[in-house]
């Protein structure tokens, strides 16, 4: 029997991997994939909590509905984000974080 804790553990590990990837990796596309992984971890947590939170014996669907919004938002974010990354590649011929270090101080 899979319990709530198992789901939370998997989601937590997924979130940690995503966060570590954002911090460690140098390629902006990979960083972006890691960010999507963090969102998936959050979605998994929401669905798990929602499924195990019983109201009058039935699961509470309020949080599951939020997941649909999150997925939609993530898709919009990817659409805009990849466009910006493509524009960056056209300008610099690189998608490495080292190519965006002009602004500092």
């Amino acid at each position: 029997m899979i319990t709530l804790n198992d789901y939370l553990l998997v989601a937590g590990i997924l979130f940690a991997i995503g966060l570590a990837g954002v911090v460690v990796r140098r390629n902006i596309i990979v960083i972006y994939m890691c960010l999507e992984m963090m969102l998936s971890a959050a979605n998994l947590t929401l669905v798990a909590f929602s499924r195990f939170h019983l109201v009058d014996g039935a699961p509470d669907y309020a949080a599951q509905s939020l997941v649909f919004f999150t997925i939609t938002v993530a898709a919009a974010e990817v659409a805009v984000g990849l466009a910006i990354i493509v524009a960056l590649f056209r300008a610099k011929q690189s998608v490495d974080v080292e190519s965006v270090t002009k602004l500092k101080g």
Partner: protein, 475 residues
Amino acid sequence: MMSSFSIEIFLAVVGVLLIALDAFATELNRKVVPWAAIGATGLALILMLTRSADIPAWITPFYATDSLAVFYKVFALVTTLIVLIIALEGDFITAYFSSSEGVKTRIGEFYALPLIVCAGMMWMASAKDLVALFVPLELVTVSFYVLVAFTRRSAMSLEAGVKYLILGALSTGVLVFGIAWVYGATGSLSFEGIAAAASKPTTNAMALMLGAALLLAGLGFKVGAAPFQIWIPDVYQGAPTPVTAFLSVGSKAAGFVVLTRAVQAFTGDGSQIATQVGNALLSAAALTILLGSLPAIFQTNVKRLMAYSSISHAGFMVLALACGATGTVAFYMGTYLPATLLGFLLLVVLRTQGVGDELKDLAGLSKRSPLLAFALAVAFASMAGLPLTAGFMGKLLVFMAAISKAHYGVVALAVVGAAAGFYYYFRPILTAYSPVEGESTKLQVSPVARVTIAVLIVGVVAVGVYPKLLQSVLK
């Protein structure tokens, strides 16, 4: 008579229609896009001030219409209106930097997107529920990704866009994860339900604390509170100036209204995590003021200086929030609006005349244009908190709120921050009024810019001399 809800839908629809118009209309018709956007925002502002109170019943569980919501809605509309005027002032700069070499581009989106952002900020002001918080917040953030990277021929704008994109998406991930844990701990997505569950002894305090910490971190990013303020200087400096103005006033205000509601839910009567949240906010406030004020001393670029200044202002607002003075947060925001928008408007006007945004470029401004130099002095004096300007009243109220709660340590740090402010805010003023050798050309200021500058100066002084003007709105 329209309800505030219909006004928001109106704005979003006009925004989408203007994007379509820009894409399909002839060259001549495209010229109406900026004016249509300004007209629609102005109309929405009038409709908002004469709105009807009744909203559809189905939306009441998610949608607040209290005085806080109304204040921030009007705030968002005023900000958007002035930002659109600033954008129109700098129109040819935006057009130049967003087109490929030798190609005439359409920049109608640059005027249409702020309407959609404005609708999102107005929805955020009414959020009573974590879903109603998250969706408009992302509407605003994703639109800002586009706006920040809009002038893509400028390497700085593109770099700012990428940085904002990565860190913004990171904060979204953290925010949703926080929402998930808050929901898991309390079993509710509405702020009322969260506040009720937070005071119940059966609620798992550890899980709630984890959720609250992540959620506040996500929102702290949006308002630029330390330690999540690192993106602000780069993004503010690189973004097109009208967008910087919009980010630093509109986005920050919308962030603060949802932060206010979240903090109210976490620190309600008998909440198990009230002390921890209060302490976290206090330390964040102290850190934000210091990390905003101290680096600002060494800046040589006015836009970047204003970025650090906006961090320090956010610190003062977080301090007011930590003291539970939600009215003071809104008041401070109201004093911050005219001074900051005036500052960015001046930068755009100067830029159109070929004056850059480095500190040394301001030298001799008082000779070249007495009006601009005076406006600059008013804007920066208000940001510093000189008596008789709006900024002074804002800082005074924050200090009073903090002293009434006996947070003397943080007050001492805030005083240091405010004192440093007098140094770095007065440097641009002194530069502008310093005498320079040789002949200099006079600067031209368009009539629209003149009127806007005058209105903003009157706003700064009026609130500074007679603060009840703004306070009565907040009652």
